[in-house]
Assembly symmetry: C2
Homo-oligomer: 152 residues x 2
């Protein structure tokens, strides 16, 4: 019945589905400090917000697409803590110098990730080239056989 803080909440199953993982994975990530112990219902059920969804999806992407270990994700999360703080109360009591420092750190992190993404794309492109070439020679071999079999 509050009109302002009308935000959607998910239970662990909903979050899991939206991120493409299981509930177990979410509990494990919370245990490692990757997700932070948030609100609970009286029955002790975990509740998540839309920003939790985005955060988990990001973690899964870094894990699956870039192959980062959970240890590396924890490191990264610690480093990003500063960036998240920018959007919190914390930022109100910070000086512009401090804010600039935080933004610089966040930029470095994003740039590093972009490099990793490009490196992966390179390797995938090379893989695609090799597969395409292989397919070409296999099609040749096939045509040769078909000609001999069709034997006009």
């Amino acid at each position: 019945l509050s009109t302002v803080t009308e935000e959607r909440r998910y239970r662990i199953g909903g979050l899991a589905e939206r991120a493409g993982v299981t509930a177990r994975t979410i509990r494990y990530y919370e245990e490692l400090g990757l997700l932070g112990k948030g609100e609970r219902t009286k029955g002790a059920q975990r509740l998540y917000s839309e920003s939790d969804v985005a955060r988990l999806q990001e973690l899964i992407r870094l894990r699956d697409l870039l192959g980062l270990t959970l240890d590396e994700l924890v490191e990264l999360a610690d480093a990003e803590e500063a960036r998240a703080a920018l959007r919190g109360q914390w930022a109100d009591s910070a000086t512009d110098d401090e804010r600039a420092e935080i933004v610089d750190a966040a930029i470095s992190i994003a740039e590093r990730q972009l490099e990793l993404v490009h490196a992966r794309k390179q390797r995938l492109a090379q893989f695609a080239d090799e597969l395409t070439e292989k397919l070409g020679s296999m099609h040749e071999r096939k045509a040769e056989l078909d000609e001999r079999r069709g034997g006009t």
Copy 2:
């Protein structure tokens, strides 16, 4: 001192280095049937050929770049067995119809892999886009702060 079968051999450490894995991984893959128990020296040391290097590198790429599990790699290896047979003695006693069937199967496998590679590239491209956009807005924020600090 043989002049024809003059092929380079690797021990497990050499193979490991060339594929970017550890010796333990190679022994484990052999245990799973992914690598096949080949020759040994009198001292029981494993010996590998250049084609073993290529094969292992391929497996590692499928694992790292496409995220296949070892179970899936075993399946794929079983399916590819036929393709490998094309290059062996086996092929000499096969009919052209059988050869064509084998090539068709091999083509299907390669096409499937190429699809997976493209799907991954798509996801990576989207990730890159989002990171680039994020970097853009962070640079804006930075410029804003710098202006306030520099305050002409």
